[in-house]
């Protein structure tokens, strides 16, 4: 006990009294992790590149969706109303519905587009959140969710121009087919969405969808790193982003 105990109690007590302050336990703070150090050296900007052609090569493939939903305990309600989606396939016209011109390359427009949170550089969803339950992580550009703090007002869902956010209309647990105990489920009444697998990233793994895609249609990486795969892919091919006119600067790119 001794010093250890007193130190902990004192600081912890202060923490609790200053609830809003969000102070941390400095006395017991862990040593800096390697990843944290890297973050301080220079910020990163994670991005995803979806190669639509490659994606279309396997018709009806849902590997990425399944991997993601399995990993994140995303429930399957099997009805449109209560549906929760982190990553999903939708028609090109829905995904890019301001692209009205008729005679685009059919292989692109007739196939589905893979949709997920865009992790915008200028996200409207975090701007509207009244509790800072969703915010953009400065160090790597991931738009985060704090499910402990979300009050379920759904303002972010309303503000997102891409339909990337889902709300837990009901208790998700009974609808999770196979639970991954490593990842929490959510509770009813909070909003959720793709987090670029930030937990996996922290462990040095790739996002689940990227790992699951056998076609290599999904490329993930740091845009700040000139050597990264994403940078190269974007340099080599022409890419589009969803609703660029809104100025949200999505970090999900589609190679056409």
């Amino acid at each position: 006990m001794g010093i250890d105990r007193r130190g902990f109690m004192k600081v912890s007590g202060l923490t609790i009294l200053g609830i809003a302050g969000g102070a941390s336990i400095d006395g017991l703070a862990s040593p800096q992790t390697p990843r944290k150090k890297a973050a301080e050296a220079g910020t990163r900007r994670y991005a995803m590149v979806v190669d639509l052609k490659k994606c279309h090569s396997q018709e009806g493939c849902r590997d990425c969706v399944q991997a993601c939903h399995l990993y994140h305990n995303v429930p399957d309600f099997d009805n449109r109303k209560d549906e929760i989606k982190w990553i999903w396939k939708d028609s090109f016209h829905h995904a890019f519905h301001s692209m009205e011109h008729e005679h685009l390359e059919e292989s692109i427009t007739e196939g589905p587009a893979l949709l997920l949170c865009n992790h915008c550089d200028n996200p409207p969803c975090t701007r509207v959140c009244p509790t800072k339950a969703t915010w953009k992580r400065e160090e790597d550009g991931i738009v985060m969710m704090d499910w402990h703090r979300c009050i379920g007002c759904r303002y972010c869902v309303v503000a997102c121009p891409y339909g990337s956010r889902s709300f837990n209309w009901r208790d998700p647990r009974p609808h999770i087919k196979e639970v991954n105990p490593d990842f929490p489920t959510r509770t009813r009444g909070v909003v959720e969405k793709c987090t670029f697998c930030e937990l996996r990233l922290a462990k040095g793994q790739k996002p689940a969808c990227v790992e699951a895609c056998k076609e290599g249609a999904l490329i993930f990486g740091d845009l700040e790193d000139p050597e990264s795969e994403v940078r190269k892919a974007l340099q080599d091919r022409f890419s589009i982003r969803r609703k660029p006119e809104l100025g949200t600067e999505p970090e999900v790119y589609y190679l056409v």
């Binding site: 609830i19 809003a20 449109r80 109303k81 209560d82 549906e83 929760i84 989606k85 939708d90 016209h93 829905h94 995904a95 519905h97 301001s98 009205e100 409207p124 701007r127 509207v128 959140c129 009244p130 509790t131 800072k132 339950a133 703090r149 979300c150 009050i151 379920g152 007002c153 759904r154 303002y155 869902v157 309303v158 503000a159 997102c160 121009p161 891409y162 339909g163 889902s166 709300f167 837990n168 209309w169 009901r170 208790d171 509770t187 009813r188 009444g189 909070v190 909003v191 809104l246 100025g247 949200t248």
Partner: protein
């Protein structure tokens, strides 16, 4: 003063218990919603806000409209409103409380609602809306308790209350402006992306709120001894008239901008509202009812002969109120989500539990209005109670 609400006639108690019963039933449904989640409502991934938030929007307007009696009375010394300012303030208090209840029932994690204050986020309009609504509630509670209390004691209200009242006037405007900002700044929802959303909200509020106040005053003339007199009612009617004209004018401007520009994102919503989109026309009958009621009300209000006809006035006010309620309480919020951000048309219909919860909150409002008006009227009554006739015979009988 509040004791007066605990004494009343059989009719009063019947009404109170009826409302309590409605509230109780609604509360049971809310418990169900609390335990099962908002899934029991008609809301969905595509239409995330619906009936609850629409009522919030509408009622913020009713609350803000108290300024239409407070302002002429306190800033322009318009004495005829002296008797009804307190009624306007009480209506505002009840409306704000209803607004807050609608927010509470709409959020998924009500037990975390204090996060709004524990993690204040000035970048969020919802945060500001909470601030202005709470502030408005406190302002009106203080103002009405102090002024009515002074009236009951037969003394002048303390001097410090006047600046508070004056302060409440711009605050009233702010609550509806900030509520409009909830919607107006969202790139995702082109239907709401219009600079005149706040002015339009205010115009419709200043029509619907006073219309409701006229109805309440006329009702009290019928069932209580409280008689307001014709002049304030006429003046309120004029306010409704102008506000209604401006509101319709603003709506027409929206139509012009959408249809003349012919930008699909803007046109689609209006099409959905008034003509149906992709075979989905569930709002169409409502919206045309609103159009018909509004045109009818405009005619009735603009022609002076009809405007000051106290027999027709209730009908006109009902038309104004329902017309605007459909416009704001059904059309405005739902249409923002149809078509969705992905261009899909997904219909929304409130479910039975959702409607029952909504009715229960309206019943809370009705109960508050009843109780507050009972207190105000009894206090007024005390001041003139049992005064059968003015006394000419005063001098006689004293030696």
């Amino acid at each position: 003063m509040i004791e007066n609400a605990l004494r009343g006639s059989k009719r009063y108690w019947t009404w109170v218990f009826f409302l309590l019963a409605v509230i109780f039933v609604g509360f049971l449904f809310y418990l169900k919603q609390y335990h099962e989640g908002l899934g029991i409502t008609g809301l969905s991934r595509d239409v995330t806000w619906g009936f609850y938030i629409a009522q919030l929007t509408f009622l913020v307007g009713v609350a803000a409209s108290a300024v239409m009696v407070v302002l002429p009375y306190y800033l322009h010394n318009y004495k005829a409103f002296g008797k009804i300012t307190i009624l306007g303030e009480f209506l505002a208090i009840s409306s704000v409380i209803m607004c807050m209840l609608f927010v509470v029932v709409d959020i998924g994690q009500p037990s975390r609602m204090f996060n709004l204050f524990l993690h204040p986020s000035p970048n969020s309009m919802l945060f500001w809306d909470t601030v202005v609504l709470s502030g408005y509630l406190i302002l009106n509670i203080v103002i009405s308790i102090v002024t009515l209390g002074a009236e009951r004691k037969g003394i002048a209200p303390p001097g410090w209350i006047r600046p508070v009242i004056v302060f409440s006037i711009p605050w009233a405007v702010s609550i509806h402006t900030v509520t409009a900002f909830l919607y107006a700044g969202l790139g995702a929802r082109p239907f709401w992306m219009t600079a005149i959303l706040a002015p339009r909200f205010l115009a419709s509020a200043f029509a619907a709120g006073p219309a409701l106040l006229i109805l309440l005053v006329l009702l009290m003339r019928k069932i209580t001894k409280f008689h307001v007199g014709d002049e304030p009612i006429k003046k309120l009617t004029v306010i409704v008239t102008y506000a209604m004209i401006i509101n319709v004018f603003f709506v027409l401007m929206e139509f012009f901008t959408a249809f003349y520009s012919a930008m699909p994102e803007h046109v689609a919503h209006f099409k959905y509202m008034y003509f149906g989109l992709d075979g989905n026309a569930n709002l169409v009958p409502w919206m045309w009812t609103s159009v018909v009621l509004s045109i009818f009300a405009l005619v009735m209000l603009i022609v002076p002969k009809f405007r000051y006809n106290f027999k027709l006035l209730p009908v006109t006010c009902v038309a104004v109120f329902i017309g605007l309620w459909i416009d704001k309480g059904i059309g405005l919020i739902i249409t923002g989500f149809v078509p969705s951000v992905l261009g899909e048309v997904v219909s929304y219909k409130p479910t039975f539990p959702e409607i029952m919860i909504t009715i229960a909150i309206y019943a809370v409002g009705a109960l508050l209005v009843t109780v507050f008006y009972k207190v105000a009227l009894t206090v007024r009554g005390e001041v003139t109670y049992d005064r059968v006739r003015p006394l000419e015979t005063k001098a006689v009988g004293t030696k």
